[in-house]
Structure formats: C-alpha cells, structure tokens
C-alpha cells in the first residue's frame, strides 16, 4: 500500500466535504444566536463546491478510464464522479431545506450540519470504493452520521425511538456486512474488488463464497430497506425530522446502491457463485419482487404521508434491486439505468419531502393525507409541484421517474433469455398499484375542500428546493438524452 500525493487531486470532492464538515463543527462552537441559516448556507456552499469538483474531474476522465487511488483502496471513474456529484447536490438540497424546519420545530442544533457533511463524505467514499474495506468504512462513516441526525430532535419521543431503532438495526447490519466481507476474504484471499471477480471464480471454497454473498445481500438489504429487512424504515422515516428523512430516503439509499454497484456488479459479477443459473442474483431477484410488492401494498394502507413515502421508498428500493440484479446478470445498460434511476429518484424524493416540510408548521405538522385537503385551491403552485413529483414516483410520463423505471426494466429485459421477464411484470403491475396511493394525495389536494387555511413554513432555501426539484424531474423526463450521455 503506497501513498501517492497526486492521488489527492482526484479526491478533492471528498476532501471538500470532510473539511467543510469539520469546519462547521468548529464554527458551531463559536456561533451565537438561534437561527442556523448561515450554517446551512455554508453547508450547501461546501456541498455544491464538492459537486462542481466532481463534475470537473468527471470531464477530465475519458470514457472507461479507471484510476486506482491510494493503493487500490479507491477508484476514480466516471460512474463514481457522477454519483458523488449527485450525493453532494442531494446533501446541499437537504441542508437548504433544514433551517426553516429547525426553527419551526425547535431543534436548532448547529452540529447537525457538520455531521451531515461528514456523512456525505462517507457516501462519496462509497461511490469510489475499490476495496471491501473502503465499502465498510464508507458505510459506517455515512451511517453513524445519519444515526446522530435522526436523533437531533431530542424532545420528540418519536424521534428518539426512530433513532434508537435505526441505530440498533444498523449496528446489526454492520455485523452481517463484516462477516460477509470476512468470508469472501477467506475464499478469495483479497479484498480488492477488481481482483475478486477473477479470484473467486477459481476458489476452492465455493461454500464460503455462497455464505459470504448471502450475508452481503442481507447487509445491503438492511441498508436499502429491502423486505424483509425493512422494519426499521417506516418508523425511522416517520420519527426523524423531515429534512433528515429526505436525506435518508434519497442520499443514504442511493449511496448504499452505489456500493452495491461496486460489490455485486464487479466483485461478485460474472460467473462466480454457484447459486443456480442466476448466481447470487437468485436471492436478490426474489427479494426485489417481494420488496416492490410489500412496499406498495403496505403504502396503500397508510394515512400518514411520511409513512406512505417511506413504504414507497421501500418499493423503489425493490426497483433498484431489479437493476442491480440485471447488472450482475450482464445486462449492458444496467449500470447507466441504475445511475439514472438514482438521479431521478433523489430529486423526486428531495422535492417531495421539502413540500412535506413546507406544508407543515409549528402548530400543525400536517402529516396526514386528510390534512392536505384543499392545498390545490390555496397553494396551486405547491400542489402542482407535488403532483409532478408524485407522478414521477408513480412512473407516469413525462417525468424522470417514468423514464428511469422504463430504463431499469429495459435493462432487466436485456438479461439473457428473458429470465427477468416475470420480474418486470411484477414491477409493472406494482406501478399500477402505486398510482392508487400517490393519487390519494393528489385527490386530497385538488378534489377536497380545506377545513382551515394553510400556514406553511416559508423560507428561501425550502422554496428553492421546491421549485428546482419538480422542474428537474420534468426535464429529466422530457429530455433524458443529455443525462444519458452524462451517465452512459
């Protein structure tokens, strides 16, 4: 393992996030006053600067170049930079939507922003991970920050419960992850992701690989909230402060999928594991099908919008797993489609939760679907934005969500011999189910009368997120060509 100072140039996005994060923790110590808008602005500035750095580095790399960094611990490639830019932008959006929520609900804690950026640095590490050890470090770096953010609203009992649950289950998943990595290492003799594929196909201990692969599937299942490892998600999403929920649902999930792209796409990709014709994907496709279905059907029964969106995000995790399975089974467009889906899903989620934060206020959080009755008449622009985002969640054109789903399912259809056709049918039928509960919110907003006037939480940052996300989601759906060239 050698340290080459030149490698640091490729890690500027990471370094910006980490440095700004530590700076913010320090700044909080010297900060006077209640309102934390200045800290949030600094956070967003750091995050967007990191995103710009990623874009610059992205443009310097040729199509398929992979540059090994820090002795094969990290890798610089185009997919990695697109994803780290996405994580940084998502973090910036989450930071912008936070101070108003902090003010309205009395949890003005400045460390929050530092922790958020440090957590984001873990995500960037995941996007560039080239070694199972960095995968582990990245996941822990990211998760510990999110446990803390989840618990920030100290006076809320639900918040405490959510944080505790999330922390315990997260620690449990870490055990699976560690154990899985250990077994894979035992079978292959290395933790370098690029080498594992070849090493594992010649292993003398296929049993170890099978067991290790299963443990990794379980560990990532916890992280992306796939059924049956999803039990923590609805409680955590409901109890956490809304901007944190957005951060968890969008960025944390996306980062876990980024790690899956590395681990399952490269390390375990190819003809490695004797699991049957589908390899390690055989447990994964079953989990994907169950996740989509259970997530959707449970969401139909929810009256609380945050819980509904939590279950919806579980079902989206299922769709992402379809993409990961297709990736492992060698579908050519799977990688692109996954990255595209993450982009569309992240913006949709950030926008939707920002609107949830906007609609609620100090006295009334308005989390029930019934509380949204009449929003369309009183705040037509906000309701229109939410409608666009919900249609994107449901996969109706012309939104980014439709095209993302289209692309993932297309990748699944490319798998040899149409082996994932049934999974596509399951996914598509679930889309029809999901329309029902997304339209419940639209129905409440437009078709019913308000019982009392809305008193939304107003702030510039929040409004920025609310305006930008629906527009981006529409743009992603109408003009996907530019984004495809970017991620493909």
């Amino acid at each position: 393992m050698s340290f080459n100072p030149a490698d640091l140039g490729y890690l500027v996005p990471y370094l910006i996030l980490a440095a700004t994060g530590m700076l913010l923790v320090l700044a909080e110590a010297f900060y006077h006053g209640e309102d934390r808008t200045a800290l949030a602005t600094l956070t967003a500035a750091g995050a967007f600067a990191s995103a710009i750095a990623s874009v610059v580095l992205f443009r310097q790399l040729e199509g398929n170049t992979k540059i090994s960094l820090l002795g094969d611990m990290l890798v610089a490639d185009r997919t990695g930079y697109v994803l780290s830019a996405l994580f940084a932008v998502t973090t910036g959006l989450a930071a912008l939507s936070s101070p108003a929520h902090q003010r309205e609900h009395d949890w003005q804690i400045g460390e929050y922003y530092g922790v958020m950026l440090l957590s984001a640095s873990g995500m960037v590490m995941l996007a560039h991970a080239a070694n199972l050890v960095t995968v582990f470090l990245g996941i822990e770096n990211m998760s510990i920050g999110v446990y803390v953010m989840c618990a920030m609203r100290r006076r809320s009992r639900r918040g405490n419960e959510a944080a505790m649950k999330y922390f315990l289950i997260g620690a449990f998943a870490t055990g699976f992850l560690m154990y899985g990595i250990a077994l894979i290492y035992g079978a292959g003799g290395t933790t370098k992701i690029a080498q594992l594929a070849t090493v594992l196909s010649q292993t003398k201990n296929p049993g170890l690989v099978v067991a290790g692969g299963f443990l990794l599937v379980i560990a990532f299942g916890f992280k992306v909230a796939a059924v049956p490892f999803h039990m923590w998600a609805p409680d955590a999403y409901e109890g956490a402060p809304t901007p944190v929920t957005a951060f968890m649902a969008a960025a944390v999930k996306a980062a876990a999928v980024a790690a899956m792209i590395r681990v399952f796409g490269t390390a375990l990709g190819g003809d490695v594991v004797p699991f049957g014709t589908l390899g390690w994907a055989s447990p994964l496709v079953v989990i994907a099908a169950i996740t989509i279905t259970v997530g959707n059907i449970t969401a139909v029964r929810q009256d609380n919008i945050k819980r509904m969106l939590a279950y919806s995000s579980i079902s989206h995790a299922g769709v992402l797993l379809v993409g990961v399975s297709a990736l492992g089974l060698g579908a050519p467009s799977a990688n692109t489609s996954l990255v595209y889906y993450l982009i569309a899903y992240s913006f949709t989620t950030m926008g939707a939760f920002a609107i949830v934060a906007y609609v609620g206020s100090r006295n009334r959080e308005r989390l029930l679907v019934d509380d949204w009755a009449g929003l369309g008449a009183q705040h037509p622009a906000i309701a229109l934005g939410m409608t666009i985002l919900l249609l994107s969640f449901g996969g109706i054109p012309p939104t980014g969500g439709f095209f993302a789903k289209f692309y993932i399912f297309k990748a699944a259809m490319e798998v040899y011999d149409g082996q994932l056709l049934w999974l596509v049918v399951v996914g598509v039928i679930n889309s029809a189910i999901s329309i029902y509960y997304y339209l419940r919110i639209v129905t409440a907003m437009y078709f019913r009368e308000a019982t009392q006037p809305f008193a939304p939480t107003r702030s510039g940052g929040l409004l920025f997120v609310i305006v930008v996300c629906p527009l981006l989601v529409l743009e992603l759906g109408i003009m996907p060509g530019w984004w495809l060239r970017l991620v493909g």
Partner: protein
C-alpha cells in the same frame, strides 16, 4: 417531406396555450376562456393545413416529421398521418373548440386550471394519433390520462372521487401490461435490427416468434379493449361519463374511446398478426355481445348520461367488429363509424349539458313535453339522435352499414390462418344492434321532448342561446355532410386501409420462428406444415416436453400436406436456422406446441 412542419405545430399549439393560460392571473376567468378558445381554434386551423399537403392517393405515412429524441434509446420524435389517422386528428381539433365553447359558464371554479387541463389533454390525444414511434405513443397515451382524471375529479359530480380513481386504475393496469409488451418487442427487435429503436415503421419489419406474438397481442389488446371499451371491461365508462363535466364527457366519448380501435389498427394488429389471428374470434364475439348488451342496458337507464354511455359501448362494438372482420369495407366502416360517433355522441352530451344547465337533473322522468319550450334545440337534437341511431342520409348509417357488410362478407376474404367464427351470424347479430339503437334513442327523445308538459319546472325553459347554437350547428352540419357525402372520406381512407389489409395478409403468411426481419426467411405458406414438422422433430430431439402437436390437416391454404420439390432443402434450412437461433427457437416452438396452436 413537404408540410412536415404541420404536425409539430398542431401538437405544439395546445401545450403552448396551456403554459400561456397558466401564466395569466387567476381571477381573469374571461381571459382564460378566451385564450383556451383561441388556441384550440388556432390548432384547428393548423390541422386544416394537413389537408393541403395530404395526398389522398398515397397509402403510406405523410407529413412525416422525424428528429432524434433520446439517442441512447433509439427513441425518435416521429409524427405522421395516413388515411386512417388524418380524420381522427381533424375530429379532435374540431371537437376541442366546440367543447370549450359549450362549457361557457358551466365551469366556474378554477377556470384557469380547467382550460390548461383541456389543452394538455388535446396535446396528449393528438400526440397519440400522429405518433409513429412506440415510445412517443406511450408517453402521449399516458399524458392523456392525468388531465382526464383531473377533469373528472375536480369538476365532476357527486361520486367523482370513485369515478376518477376507477378510470385511472382501469386505464393504468391495461397500459402498464402494454408497456411490458413494448419492452419485449423493443429488446427483440433491437437484436434483429442490430440496434435499439422504437420507430414504428422499423419495428414493423421484424417478425416475432408465434408465441410471443400471442402474448404481446394480449397485452396490447387489454390496454385497447379497456379503452374501447369492450364488454366486460366497460364498467369504468358509465361511472366516468356520469361524473364527468359535459366537456369531459364529450372528449371522453368523442375522442378518447377511439384510441382503443385506433391502437388495434395502428399497433397491435400490424405488429402481431399471429396474435391477432388467435384473439380475433374472442374479440369479435365480445364486440357483438357489447353491441347487444350495451343497447339493452342503455334502454333500462333513467339517467340520460348513463344511457348515452351505454350507447357508446354498443356503437364502439361495431367499430371493433369492423376492424377484426379484416375487410376493407369493415375497416373503412369502422373508421367512419368512429368519426360519426365522435360527432353524434359529442352532440348528445352537449345536448344533455344544455338540459342539465337549465334543470340540474339528468333523470329522464324529470323531463317531458319540452319540444314547445325549446323548438330549435329539439330540432337540432333530433338530427343528432337520428344520426346516432343510424338513419340513412345521416352519418351513423354509413359506418354501421359498412361494418356489418364487411363482417358479413368476411368469410370470403380472410387471409390464411385468420378465422372468424360464423361471420354471417356475427353480422346478423350486430345488425340487431342497429334496431335496438333506434329503439332506445327514440325512446329517450320521446321521454324528453314529447308527451305532456306535466313538470312545472319545465314550463319556462329558454331555448338555445347564441353560444349554444354555435356549438351545435357545426356538429349538425358535420353529421349531415358525412351522411350525404361519405365518398370523399372513404376515398381518402381507401389506400391506407388497403395497405393495412395487404400488409396484414403478407405478414401473417410468413412462417414464425426466432425473431427475424420479414422477408429474410424464405418460407411460403404452403411450407408451413413442413416447418411445423421440422420444429417438432427438433423438439423431440431436444427432449422438449408436451409435443402433442397434431400434424394432420396442416398445409396452409392448400389444405393438404403437399411435398413440393426442394422440401429436403427447406428442412436443412430450417435446421440451420435453428442452430443459429439457439435456445430462443426451442423455447418459442415448445411453447407454441404447448398452447395448442390452431393449425391452419
């Protein structure tokens, strides 16, 4: 291509109008109404330019506009019209301004949003009619859904929540299964053509395996059958119609239902001829059931809107039957009947809207004897009713006559492998629908306009005002013109319809096998039996289960198993093809044996 700017203009104007209207201040309702009307009229004028550039003697697509949309996916923004779609586009652009005009003061809340929704809906509908790209078609198809949902849900009647959700769920289930079939076609065609594309004309050069055609057709047919709607998938329609505002009903019946028939003609049947052959008997029988069932149920209604809704089930049954009769009479008649239905049912719903605005009820028993009060309205409405009932010299007659005629003679002209059960009986049964239609429509007219004026509230009903007259007169003129001069329309449709049947006949005779381009595997229908035998031998060789395929009675149009010279060579060729096709071939043929494929 000359005139290629017309269709993008026609598509762009309404969406531009929607954006424009949304930018206006909220309280300026008159301005919103005026702008909506102006933009729909501008669209109508733009669509009339189609006729200037349209060559009626040409069968293929004209006014084609083609530009790359999503390069990585092979999706194009490609639009064009042929004799089948050109009048449907005109019908849409004609009905839209009339609908907005008739709405007038009936919509008072959220006028801006209403106008914008109507304009977005118009773009979606026109896009689905003129799209020549599967991806663009699907996008347009879904774009229609949301504005219609909002129209029913926001401006609808008492049970609008139920009706709007039911409408969306029904449509979504159908269209999503269609999406799966689109994926399948897309991926298969991509491997045959050596590059992904969603261009319809290029997709049509690919022959899919028999079994895949059957399933894909089923998926497309479900989406379209829900839209038509075919019995027993029609239950969303009466709810949607009853709850929708007048404008929504007019557009729903006048245009949206046509997408079912149009989808069969443009997409499902040309892409999957073998699938069409397998499902045609089922669909034809369901159409006839729909014709009679719709008519009988319509007779039992007290709610006028429900009556007209069920009459749509009946009338669209004729259209579906005509298409699946696969004769040029039947198909031309079907398109003609769609145009006529758009005008007459549009007129019926407008008339109901006029009555509802005055009396705020749709119950037949609440009316009676209002001829004297509203003589102008009664006269115009009578023409509309007669047109709908199929009185000769009015529009309804031509379409229904042609579809029945087309069905009646279908037995003589069907291509090999495509059969209808007892076409003469189907035609005769369908003809009873015409009689039933006359009964319930005249009964409705009589209950409303004749009899004693015994309800006090009916005593002082004002006759049509200028705005209402302006909406009725174009429709009545159209109904007359279509009935008296059907020739020009049929003349324009003819080349496209002939091309449709010709292509269909050519495609269905091509032997199935692994996905390939039409014309690259040389096998003529007489060799089909040989191909089957060869495939069965292959199946046996692979140990595939379920080879209970009967070999007797094969032999295509000849009716006998003949062994022309060179059969051995063909067998070899088939074997070579199998070798190249790999397991896809074995999967396809084993599957087709398993499903009990009808031997031609």
């Amino acid at each position: 291509m000359p005139g290629s700017f017309v269709l993008p203009l026609v598509l762009g104007l309404p969406i531009l109008g929607a954006i424009f209207v949304m930018c206006m201040p909220r309280s300026e309702t008159t301005l919103h109404r005026g702008l909506g009307l102006a933009f729909t009229i501008a669209t109508l004028v733009a669509s009339l330019f189609m006729l200037r550039y349209f060559n009626p003697r040409e069968a293929g697509f004209q006014l084609v506009f083609d530009t790359e949309w999503i390069p990585g996916l092979g999706a194009h923004f490609k639009t064009g019209v042929d004799g089948i779609s050109v009048f449907l586009v005109l019908l849409t652009t004609l009905l839209m301004p009339l609908t907005l005009l008739c709405t007038g003061k009936a919509i008072e809340k959220h006028v801006r949003e209403f106008t914008a929704a109507m304009l977005v809906l118009e773009t979606g509908m026109l896009g689905a009619f003129v799209s020549l790209d599967l991806f663009l078609f699907y996008v347009a198809w879904e774009v229609m859904l949301i504005p219609m949902y909002l129209l029913i849900g926001i401006w609808g009647g008492q049970r609008r929540l139920y009706a709007s959700i039911k409408f969306v769920i029904y449509t979504m289930v159908g269209s999503l299964l269609m999406l799966v079939a689109i994926f399948y076609v897309y991926v298969q065609a991509g491997s045959v053509l050596g590059g992904y594309t969603t261009d319809l004309e290029r997709l049509l050069t690919v022959a899919l395996p028999y079994n895949a055609q059957v399933w894909c057709f089923a998926a497309f047919a479900l989406a379209f059958a829900i839209k038509v709607p075919l019995f027993p998938l029609h239950t969303w329609l009466p709810d949607a119609h009853v709850e929708a505002p007048t404008a929504g009903s007019v557009i729903l019946a006048g245009v949206l239902l046509k997408f079912g028939i149009y989808g069969f003609l443009r997409y499902a049947m040309p892409m999957f001829p073998h699938g069409a052959a397998v499902w045609a008997p089922t669909i034809a029988i369901l159409s006839v059931i729909g014709i009679i069932y719709g008519a009988i149920v319509a007779f039992a209604q007290d709610d006028v809107k429900k009556l007209v809704a069920y009459s749509s089930v009946s009338h669209l049954g004729f259209c579906a039957l005509g298409v699946f009769a696969l004769t040029s009479y039947g198909i031309s008649g079907s398109i003609f009947a769609m145009l006529s239905h758009g005008l007459t049912t549009g007129g019926l719903f407008l008339g109901i809207g006029v009555l509802y605005e005055r009396r705020h009820t749709r119950r037949l028993s609440e009316y009676g004897g209002i001829w004297k009060q509203m003589p102008v309205f009664a006269g115009l409405f009578l023409i509309v009713v007669m047109g709908s009932a199929g009185l000769p010299a009015l529009s309804g007659f031509v379409g229904e006559f042609l579809t029945i005629l087309g069905t009646f003679i279908a037995g003589d002209t069907l291509p090999g492998g495509y059969e209808l059960p007892m076409p003469r009986l189907l035609g005769a049964l369908a003809a009873t629908g015409v009689v039933l239609g006359a009964i319930y429509l005249l009964w409705m007219f009589q209950k409303v306009f004749f009899g004693k004026l015994d309800k006090a509230k009916n005593g002082k009903l004002p006759d049509l005002n200028g705005r209402e007259l302006a909406t009725f007169i174009p429709l009545v003129i159209g109904i007359f013109l279509l009935g008296v001069f059907p020739r020009p329309l049929l003349f324009v449709m003819e080349p496209a319809v002939q091309k449709f049947t010709r292509d269909f006949g050519r495609r269905i005779t091509e032997c199935d096998g692994p996905p390939h381009s039409y014309g690259t595997r040389s096998c003529d229908p007489r060799m089909k039996g040989q191909a089957d035998i060869q495939r069965n031998l292959d199946d046996v060789a692979r140990g595939a289960a379920g080879v209970s395929h009967t070999l007797g009675g094969t032999g295509g149009t000849g009716g006998t198993v003949n062994t022309p010279p060179g059969a051995g060579a063909r067998g070899d060729e088939g074997a070579a093809g199998n070798g190249a096709g790999g397991s896809a071939e074995s999967a396809g043929s084993a599957g087709s044996a398993g499903t009990g494929r009808p031997t031609p």
